[in-house]
Each structure stands twice: as structure tokens, then as C-alpha cells.
Amino acid sequence: YFILCQSRLIYVCFYLFVYLFSVLGFVLCASGDLVKVYSTRTEEWLHSLQGHTNQVTGITLNPANHLQVYSCSVDGTVKLWDFIDGILIKTFVIGCPLFAIYVSEKHEGVLFLHVSMCFQLVSVHLPKSAEQEVEAKEMSAVSSHISKNPSCTAFGRGVRVHFFFFYFSLKATDKKGAKNAFTCIACHPTDDCIATGHEDGKIRLWRNFIHKKEYTYSTQHWHHNAVNTLCFTPEGTHLLSGGIESVLVQWQYGADNRKEFLPRLGGSILHISASSDGQLFCTSHSDNKITVIESSFKVCGVIQGLVKGDAVLTDLMIDPRSKALVLNGKPGHLQFYSLLRDKHLYNLDIVQQEYIYEAGLDQFEVVKAAFDIKGSWLATVEERGKKSSDLEFFLKLWAFDERTQSFVLNTTITAAHTDRIISMCFSSSEETTMLVTAAEDSQFKAWCQGADDQNFWSCDFVGSYHKLNPTNCSFSADSSLLAVSFQEVITIWSPDTWEMLTTLCQPPGVIRDLCFGRLSCSKYLLGTTTKNLLCCWNLLTCELEWSTSVDVSKLQPDPFSENVAAFSYQSKHTDLFVFKPSEPRPLFTNKNVCSEKVHRAVFVPREEPLNSCDESTQWLNRSQLYFLTQNMDLLTFSTATEEDRMLSSSKQLVIDDSVAVTPFYLLLGKHRQQQQKLNTQSHPVADKPQQPQGSVTIKELLHTPAHVLPAASVLCSMFVNSFLISNTGVQQDPLRYFVHINIFLFKVKTLVNFPKLMKYELLYL
């Protein structure tokens, strides 16, 4: 066995910065180690600029060329991109983690960067060199102790001193308990006026600030919490501000009491950007959303990623119909997220109450949800009241409506139990659907649909065992058995007669997780206890088959195979075991999957089963395992073949000194190069089937805009050639099977010392 080295620390990534180029119709946002490019018109993801190896912390337009952007990253490089084609033009190696980037029109060839050491702001002269990767060494410090938050630095309009650089140390005015620390700053494009946002929600407009004493400011107050971001429109006629209220406020510059509001935008506003022509505004939100807003203050587009709520309280679930991942989304909603198409499908409003964006309010949250096996019923539990004294909860049952293709509320049960519902599961038989809920009032209840035409749900059976509090419940695969764990005791019930068949007990320790084996292993019942025991009972003999001492934080059976995944947390890292209940040896073991605890996991069925023969990857043939860490990172396992497919399509700008870089060159020259490379390939991969090549050419022909293509006559022979089967017949086109996995906030990370065939994918929430 091998030991993995510590994985890199990756920040939770977001659409932190949004840069909007409305003339061109693009929105750029930093997300993880990618810069994503979206179209403002179609809200579609176009491509991403891939190349950084760590979190991207800033993007800014190249003032010299408006088709290029600079991006900086914690990996210590600044990259210059052609963002329309997604081509990396240059890489400047700075050598220390960078946190923000600013450019000034007055300073050509100079970048201003936040470097890690005591939050220093340095200016970097970019060396003029034709090489792809340049080391930029000419650094000079501008100022130190600047807040890391990029909203806290802004560029002013240059007058005498060529530029003003404004920064405020965050402790500047924090006195007398008045929460007036600075949170963000913006400079007026034409006037010498600085707007600052403050922690108490005030916005101040500063003038005459070059004087030490005669500076003056005016204060406006609308936000009730900290102002997160400020932005002047390009003409300077308006000031936009946003905060946790998720209301975009437009202040008229000069007439300060006149303001407009755009409410209910979603999560709290993190960043606002205005396009250079002032036609569009763009806000990024804490729930992983970008809203595109017209200057007439109408929302014209929403780009939604996997919604990141405050916490995922429900299990990860798969909607049996759409095969979408279902979990907490917007507050009070369940989100349906297609992992295959990597797209947010829709939000289902469970709570059906207005959510108030304010810290410290006790509001309804969806805490439990379950689908039945056909996906025609959805049960949800919403609850309010952290303390049990004022606990309030509803059990709701939703029926799938074929006509509207969505879930419709069927039954609301206000007092399903007298105390909090602990666990909930549907019976897995096809004929009758039955819901079992176990609650802290030491009862479990079975709920059935009414027999009459009004198919509402009602209580069918109430069970209890020695007044013990139930901890979990589970149906067997064929729904013939129901296992309910009461503290240390597991009771097995027959759902048909509601007769308690037997009890199983393996003290010490309260039962935490419970699951039945599937398929050939359905005679086994697995349970984990709080005393770090994983037990397997044989239901035919009612005896303990085996048990092992391991601290299992999550036990997840694969519904399509016998396999069960168990995540164990010990000594500050999580290990994964995949095993069959019938076999004592695990199929697959992976130490140090991540450093946080894993509480949520799900097996997602594949559309096409893989036919991998490798023993250690066989368990991934039919389904894929996704799991959620405490840091809200969604991770998955993928096999090497998948990984190969996903190999980046990121284009590299290869400059041949003799040839000018034109679109023609890029189109033709690259293809030529590739062919050269193919021809020189000496070691063919033998067992791969021969593939028709030429997809590169076809792809480029089809994807390049017509007006930049060379004449058809030039392309014709190449095009036809590409259909011919290559006579070498051995090479493998890396792009043949390329399916771009357009997963939102997607990240591929290769770990050192990782087994050859296994790789990680990280999905970030």
C-alpha cells in the first residue's frame, strides 16, 4: 500500500470577481484555478482559461489590449490570456502567492500586485520578451499592510502624481464601538471622489482627500449590514452597492438621496462589475450565482452554479427520474443539479416562505429529504428552532406531476412526531410506497397513502421499543424487512404485519448508521456504532457475521452492486474503504482521501457502465461515488480512462518566430504541428481500437467563425484528408473522445504518488 502526501490546501472557490465586457458580450469570473468565460447573451459557459495550479485571486483587463486579460493566482504567477479564444499568451512568474492584481492605464507594462508578505502591495515591471514563460523580477514596494480583501483597494484617476492608490488599513477608524471599519472602496472615474463602504452599512463619499485635514465626506446609509462591494458606472453618474441584503442599490451621484433598488437577487452580493459602455451590470452572489442586469435595472440573465448554502443538512440524493443530484440549495429550497450535464436544473421551493437575508434569524430550513425508488414521491422535513424548546417542523410529501414535470405538494403533516425527526426512509418495493420516520420522541411511524381516491398520506403504524430513542431506520432492498435501531439495539420489523421479528444487539455503543446489503448480499445488515465498531449481521442466522473496529463516519451502500463504501475518520484524515459485506477483505482502500470528516456521500449511477477489468476500479463500473467534506467540497472518484478524456483542451499559444501569429496560423499551423507530432510518435498503444482521426480539423472547421477561416479551397484537401484512415493506424488521438465536462467549479487535481489508474476529481461547492 502507498501513502498519499498531504493534499494542497484549496480555498473554497466562488465567483469572486466578475469582469464584464458587454461590448464583446463576455463575463469572466475566477473560480478555483480556472477563469471561466460566459456569454452575457446566452448565459452559456463558453470555455475556461485553464493553466493556473492554484486558486485564481484576481482578473483584470489588459489596458493596452482590450481582448486580453491578466489573471493572478496563489501559485505565484500572472498569466496573460486571450480570453475570447481561451489562449494562454504569456506567463509571468512572480514567485510568491498573489492575492490581487490591479493595472493602471497610466502605467504601461506595470502591474500592481498584492503579495503575501504582510499584505504588501508591489508594482512589477513586466519584462518585454518573446518567451512564453518569463520571470518578472523588477519589483518595487508601493505600500504595506493593505487588507487582503480585493474590494479594499481601488485605482483613482491620475492627475498630478500620475496615480493615486487608495487603501485603508482596516483598523483605521474602529473606535468607540462604532463599526465603521472599511469594507470596500471605489473611485469615481472622472471626479476626485472616493466611495467607501463600511461595516455598519454606511457609504461615505470622500472629497478633497489629498489634504491632510481639509478632507471632507458625506455619508449615506441604506444597508443594514456591511457593504460588500461598491462600483461606479463608467460615466460616473451612479454608484452601485451591494451587501448581505441581496439588494442592488443604485445611488445617483450628486443627488444622494435618490436611489433605486433591485431586490431579491439571491445570496448576498459579493462583487459588482459594470461593463465599459455602462449597458450591463453584473453581480456575483454568495450562492454561486452571477446575475446580469441591464442598465435599466432589469435582470436579463442568471448564471447559476451548484448552489452553496450555509450547510448541507439533507443527505446527498439522486433523483431517480432525472438522475440529478439533490441537496440543499437556496435557503428553504432543494436544488436539482445534473452531474452529467453539470448544470443547475432547478430549485424546488420546500418551505414556501420568504427568506430574510439577515444574520442571526431563525428561519425554516430543509433538514431531511428522501425519494422513493421510482422518484414519484419526495418526502421532506423542514424545521426551525435550534433549541428543542421552540422546535417547529413540518413533514411534507410531494408527488411528481407528470404533466408539469415537477413535484407538487401532496400532504403537509404539521405534528408528525412530538420531537425532532431523526431519520426517514421510503420502502424500496415497487408496489407500495411507504414512508418510515423515526423521531426523538422514541417512536417510529409508518406513513401510507390513503386508500380512497384522495391519495393523501396518513399514519399507518406507530412502533416503539422500550421507550428508547430511535437512531436510524432502513428498509431492506426488497422492502420485506425494516430495521430500526433504538440506541444499542437493532429491531427488525416486517412491514406487512408490523410484527417485530427479532432484535440484534452488539454493545457497547449506540448505532449510528444502518444499511442492508444489496443483491447477493441482501442477507446482511450492516451497522456502525459510536464506539467505532462496524458490524455485519447475517439475517438468516440472526448472528453477527463479522465485526471490525473502525470509526465509520458514513456508510453508503451502492444500490447497483453489493459494494458498500465506508468513510472512516481518524487522526485528522479520512480513509475510504469499499467492501462487500460477504467478503472480509475490502475491495478498495484509499487512505487519506481528504483531511476533513465526510458525512455525506452518494453513489451516482453511470449512464453507460464502464467495463474496467482492473480489480481496484471495478466498483466504479456502474456508479460513481461523490462525497461531501465538512469544508463543503464535493469530491468524486474517477478512473484513469475518464481522466484521460478530460485532459485539458486548453490551447497553448506556440509562437513560431518566423510566422506571424494570425488566426490562420493558429488554425493551420497547429494542425500541421500536431501531424508532425503524430508522425514522429514511435510507440503505439496497442490495445486501443483504431479510431478515425481528423476530429481536430473537423472541430476547428466547425468551431472557427466563418469569417476568419481561410478560403474553402485551401481547406478542402485538408478536410478530405482528415476523413481518410491514417495508414499508420496506431496513433491515438487524444481529442477523439474528448467530451468536455462542463462541471461548474470543476477542478482536476493530480496528486503525487497516486496510483496510476486512480485520480481525483474535485467538485467544489
Binding site: D192, R207, T216, Y217, S218, T219, N257
Partner: protein, 683 residues
């Protein structure tokens, strides 16, 4: 430090009157304040805003405007008269009728030659300011509606007049209207209401700034008569405007209680195209702001909540110090309460009446005592005539009450106070020379009355059962003729000290009735003084919180006083923002001096070392925690008691009990009319 029985008196229902007008005189650094009850007060801006002069008002005399012409102060009111004040003797000099109905506004030009008043009948009347009087010159073109506000162009050639729905610009030469600027009415339901231009300001560059009842501050060009810009400041009225001297800053007071500042700022640094930009907002008032004034380093505002707020403009302050801190003046810097120390009586001075109370009695021990007998109101004495009371006093024996209005001095004898049910009092006739007094004081044995009158002189009258007899006059050897605002008589009846508003302190020998000596003049005004009963040293408190002790017999400062001056006072002591109002001495412990201001009571032990800036000033709690032996080494001269708040008066009675008269500001606020209702977030 000794124990005192404290009478905590809260039955003095003193109600400060709302502020109606402010006028700032830049040359002498005085700000004049007119109140709703018709009184006019003068504050010294560079002497910690000490209230130098008080001219009491009259019934039915609503002042609407104040204006300085040179060092002369004029007011005009709704009774239709223009009044000039005699600031030396702190009284009204004369009043002449303008014959134009109620006067809404008065404005003097910068040249000091003319006064303009705006009348109810729609006329702007010009008065020529002569040497000793003002003379009506002429009317400008008569308008249809009343003139609410006036402002002279700094050159004196034009006048802008704010009226209902419009502003008129007059040429002073011809008297004709040059332009008519129409102010918009509000939208919606307020459309039918007239727009009142409450205030106008005429700048030297020809810009006219107006504040109106719609809540707008508007900028107009006087050449073309067009609106340049308008700022919506509030939903209610903009009641007052004031511009700084160099015309780069403007403040507007609104009826929401906010003061909004506008500044004339270049939008692009280094360029000359300046604009008026709304900048800061100050909210220190709860009620309408009726008057604002931008003085050199601060914004002064006053309104219906009767407090004068001095908000410093920190960008114009050279050195930040206690003198430039935010200051709220609630109570007058004079004593409104006098106590008969020997008989336990208190005299409360209201504008129109006096109240005499007998203190209650208590029994028991502990931190709070059981009240055995409630305080009783013995006398409610209404003033004859329309004039308000200027000063009053009760004799230490409790048999005499004396008060003076602006024009007359009256005296009452109280007999048989021990059997108050048979209260009988007699008004004794006073000699003619005692007709009016600026300050009154009894000798400690109640045998003489000292009355400060004009020319800084003090008249002495002897009191006996048969009546009051004029004895003589004490006159200073030299010096100014400013009115005396403080008198202090020594316990042994030998000395009398008087302080006037020119900061002079004269000491008279009462036996020879001659001036004895003059204390060296200090730059700050004396706010309180007292003569020590045993050492006969004069202890003086100044407005800048300095203190001096002057030995009368040796005619020089005492050693202790010189030590204080040399070592300096503690920072916390100097940073207090209200002046000390009384100096008392503890007969049990001659080294103790008792002082008080609005927020604290302080005992100075002259035998203990003075604190320096490093020592803990408020050290009572620390001392309590220390063992007995160590207390001595840690204690210093100042013992501050902050148990009481909003103190109007503290007096040490002869039975060693303290009387503390408090007037909680919450009680004052609860008696004010309701402010404009404003929607507050989350209510």
C-alpha cells in the same frame, strides 16, 4: 473625605427656552442667542463658550431675528419693534416700532451702515444705523406676501428676500425688484401648500442659496435668475442656513434636527471648477433646528430642544483639545437657585416667578435615608409687570428675598418662617439708586444687601426689621464699566469681591467701603468664586477650568495657587466641558474646597499633593480597594463625585448637609413638544 447628608432636590422644574435665532460676530468672537422667551444671551466663542451676558426677556416678546452691526446687537420680533441692546449693562437700550406689522427677519449689511427688516405687510424696510440710534430710511418695493428671510449681498448693493413661493432680489439703490425667483412647491398633497423660503444666503459671487419648506436647498444665479442646482436635504423643512466667512462651506438646519453641511469643492483636484457638494450630516438635536451659525471652527445650532450645540469642524481646528470638542449647552452658566444656608430654604428662579421651598428632613442611617418630612413649597411669587427676572437671592437667615427684573429691584421680607402657616410678607421700599441690579448678594449675617449695578459699582443697603436703607456705593478705582455677574461676601463681613464680564475681579473692604485691591486680570472669565471663611482667601474658578486662590490680606496669589499654576492641572480636569458654578468651603475642614459643574461634584483637599498627568484622576474606587495605610500615598487633591447628573446647584448648608439640585435632561425632554415623526429602520 468626610460624610455629607445630601438633599437630592429634583423639584425645580426649570425649563430652558427654545432657541430662535443666532448671530455670530466674527470680530469680537461672540455669538448672540435669542430664545423663545425673548431673552438674549451672549456667548464667548474663544473662551469655551462661556455665557457672558444674559439679557432677560419680557412676556409677549417673540424675537424672530438677531443681527450684529459692528459691536452693537439688534433684534426684531413679532411685536413689530426693533430693539437695540446695551451689552455693557446687559439691558435693552431702546425699542422702536418699524410700523410694518410683525417683523420676521432682520439683517445688517457688512458695511455696518444699514439694517434691513422684513415685515408681515410685504415691505423690506431699510434703517440707517446712526451713532446712538437707528433711523428709518425707506421702504423697498412692497410685495404681496410677508418677507420671511433677508440676506444682503456682501457689497451691500443688493438684497435677496425669501417670501412665500418666491425669492425677490432688490437693488438697494433704486429699491426696485431686479429678479423674481420662483420656488417650486412640493409634490403630491403638499402641492397645495405654499412653499415658504425660510432662509436665504447671498454670496459674493452672485449665488443665492435658499432653504425652503419643501426640504430643498436651492442654488440660484442672480444675474439670470435661474436655478443652478437643488439638493433635496429632507422631507421636512429647511429652516436655517448659514455660510462660512470665506464662503466655502454652508450649513443648513432642518426640522428633523439634522444639520447638513455643503462645501464648495473642486470636483477634480487641482482644477478651479468648484461645485457645492453635500458633505457631512450632523445629528445632535431631537427637535427643529431654528438657527444655525457657522463660526470659525465650528457649527453652532440651536432649536426647539433648547440646547445650544457647538459641533467642531475638525478640518479647521488647529490643535484638537478640550476647547474644540463637541459641546452641548443645556443650562445657563448662572445660578438659578439660592439657598438660605442657616434656615434650610431654597429659592428657585423661573423667568416669570420665584418659588421658595423648605427642605425636607430625614432620619436613619445608611446610603439612602428615610424621608421624615417632605419638602414644602412655601411661596410662589409672581413678578409684577412683563419683565422677566434677572437675578434673585435669599438671605442666609431666610428672612429676606430679593429679586431684580431687567428694570426694577424688589425685596420681600419673610417673617415668622417658623410658623409658616401665618406667612406674612411685606415689600419694603427700596432707595431709588437700587432700582436695578445685575447681581444680588446678602452678607453672611444677613444685615446687608449688595446689589451690583451699572458702571461696575456695588450698592450697599442695610437691612433691618423696619426696612431697607441705602448705605453707600462701592466703585472700582479704574477699569471697565462692564456689568458685574458675580458677587462674593466674606464670612466675617469684612470683604466683598465682584467679578465683571471684562474678567476683572475687584475686592472691596466693607469696613472702610473702599476698593481694597484688584486681582490680576486673567484671559478667561470667572465662573464662580468664594471667600474662604478662615483664611480670607478668594478662590476663583475660570471658564477654561483653571483655578486661582488669592490672598486678600497679602494682595497676592497664595502658595497653593502658585503650585497649581506651576504644576498644571490634570488633563481630565481641563477636559471637562461645563464651567464650575459654585465655590463652597467646609467649615469643619478648612483645607477643603467644594466645587461643582453640571456633571460632577468635586472636593479639593489643599493639603494633599496635586495629581500630575500620569496619576489616575478618578481614583476613588482604587483607593477603596487599597488597605488603609496605602491610601494616603495614593490619594491626591481632587475627589470627584459623579453620582449626580445635570446639576443646577450644589450648596453646603450650615448643618453640614449638601443640597444638590438636579434637573435631569430626560425630564426636560419629556416636557418638550413632540418632534417630527420620522420613520426609523426596524420600527
Amino acid at each position: 473625605m468626610g460624610e455629607f447628608k445630601v438633599h437630592r432636590v429634583r423639584f425645580f422644574d426649570y425649563m430652558p427656552s427654545g432657541i430662535r435665532a443666532l448671530a455670530f460676530n466674527r470680530d469680537i468672537e461672540r455669538i448672540a442667542v435669542a430664545r423663545m422667551d425673548g431673552s438674549v444671551e451672549v456667548f464667548h466663542c474663544s473662551d469655551r463658550f462661556f455665557q457672558e451676558k444674559i439679557i432677560p426677556g419680557r412676556e409677549q416678546c417673540g424675537i424672530e431675528g438677531l443681527s450684529w452691526v459692528g459691536e452693537r446687537l439688534f433684534s426684531a420680533g413679532l411685536n413689530g419693534g426693533i430693539t437695540e441692546y446695551d451689552l455693557t449693562n446687559q439691558k435693552v437700550k431702546y425699542t422702536i416700532d418699524a410700523y410694518g406689522g410683525p417683523i420676521w427677519t432682520i439683517a445688517g449689511n457688512q458695511q455696518g451702515t444699514h439694517l434691513a427688516v422684513g415685515c408681515e405687510d410685504g415691505t423690506v424696510k431699510l434703517f440707517e444705523v446712526n451713532e446712538d440710534k437707528i433711523q428709518f430710511e425707506r421702504n423697498l418695493d412692497r410685495q404681496k406676501s410677508r418677507i420671511i428671510s433677508l440676506s444682503w449681498h456682501p457689497s451691500g448693493s443688493k438684497i435677496a428676500a425669501g417670501m412665500m413661493d418666491m425669492i425677490q432680489i432688490f437693488n438697494v439703490e433704486t429699491g426696485h425688484s431686479v429678479h423674481r425667483l420662483l420656488a417650486d412647491r412640493g409634490v403630491g398633497t403638499s402641492r397645495s401648500k405654499e412653499c415658504v423660503v425660510w432662509s436665504v444666503v447671498y454670496l459674493s459671487d452672485g449665488t443665492i442659496i435658499s432653504g425652503d419648506s419643501v426640504g430643498m436647498v436651492k442654488l440660484w444665479d442672480d444675474q439670470t435668475g435661474t436655478l443652478i442646482k437643488s439638493h433635496n436635504v429632507t422631507k421636512c423643512d429647511v429652516l436655517a442656513l448659514s455660510v462660512s466667512q470665506n464662503e466655502d462651506s454652508l450649513v443648513a438646519g432642518t426640522s428633523e434636527g439634522t444639520v447638513v453641511q455643503f462645501q464648495f469643492i473642486s470636483m477634480v483636484l487641482g482644477k478651479d471648477d468648484k461645485e457645492w457638494v453635500r458633505t457631512r450630516t450632523f445629528k445632535n438635536h431631537t427637535h427643529d433646528i431654528r438657527a444655525v451659525a457657522e463660526i470659525t471652527t465650528a457649527v453652532v445650532s440651536g432649536g426647539m430642544d433648547a440646547q445650544l450645540v457647538v459641533r467642531p469642524l475638525l478640518d479647521k481646528v488647529e490643535v484638537r483639545s478640550a476647547a474644540s470638542a463637541l459641546r452641548k449647552i443645556h443650562f445657563p452658566h448662572r445660578r438659578l437657585v439660592s439657598c438660605a444656608r442657616k434656615s434650610g430654604l431654597m429659592l428657585f428662579q423661573y423667568p416669570g416667578h420665584l418659588e421658595l421651598w423648605r427642605l425636607g428632613e430625614s432620619e436613619g442611617k445608611g446610603s439612602s435615608l428615610f424621608v421624615k418630612r417632605n419638602p414644602e413649597k412655601l411661596l410662589h411669587l409672581k413678578v409684577k409687570g412683563e419683565d422677566h427676572i434677572r437675578c434673585s437671592a435669599v438671605s442666609p437667615c431666610g428672612e429676606w428675598i430679593v429679586y431684580s427684573t431687567a428694570s426694577k429691584l424688589r425685596e420681600n421680607t419673610l417673617h415668622g418662617l417658623k410658623h409658616f402657616l401665618f406667612l406674612f410678607f411685606q415689600i419694603s421700599k427700596l432707595p431709588m439708586v437700587l432700582s436695578s441690579a445685575n447681581q444680588l448678594c446678602f452678607s453672611s449675617d444677613s444685615s446687608h444687601l449688595f446689589s451690583a449695578s451699572a458702571q461696575s459699582s456695588v450698592h450697599i443697603a442695610s437691612l433691618s426689621q423696619s426696612g431697607c436703607k441705602f448705605v453707600g456705593t462701592l466703585k472700582p478705582k479704574s477699569g471697565s464699566h462692564q456689568a458685574i455677574h458675580l458677587l462674593a461676601a466674606s464670612e466675617d463681613g469684612k470683604w466683598l469681591a465682584s467679578a465683571n464680564s471684562d474678567h476683572e475681579v475687584h475686592i472691596y473692604n466693607l469696613q472702610t467701603r473702599k476698593a481694597h485691591c484688584t486681582v490680576p486680570v486673567y484671559s478667561s472669565a470667572v465662573t464662580a468664586m468664594g471667600i474662604h471663611p478662615t483664611t480670607n482667601c478668594l478662590f476663583m474658578m475660570y471658564a477654561d477650568q483653571q483655578m486661582c486662590e488669592y490672598s486678600i490680606e497679602q494682595k497676592q496669589y497664595t502658595d497653593w495657587s502658585r503650585t497649581v499654576q506651576r504644576k498644571g492641572l490634570h488633563r481630565f480636569w481641563m477636559e471637562r466641558d461645563t464651567p464650575c458654578l459654585n465655590v463652597m468651603f467646609n467649615p469643619q475642614n478648612p483645607s477643603h474646597v467644594i466645587l461643582h459643574d453640571t456633571y460632577m461634584l468635586c472636593i479639593i483637599d489643599q493639603s494633599l499633593p496635586l495629581p500630575d498627568d500620569k496619576t489616575q484622576f478618578y481614583n476613588q474606587l482604587t483607593l477603596k480597594s487599597l488597605p488603609e495605610e496605602q491610601r494616603k500615598s495614593h490619594s491626591h487633591a481632587f475627589k470627584v463625585c459623579k453620582t449626580f447628573k445635570d446639576i443646577l446647584c450644589v450648596e453646603l448648608m450650615s448643618d453640614q448637609s449638601l443640597v444638590v439640585v438636579e434637573r435631569p435632561l430626560e425630564d426636560v425632554a419629556s416636557q418638550l413638544p413632540a418632534p417630527i415623526k420620522q420613520k426609523k429602520f426596524a420600527t
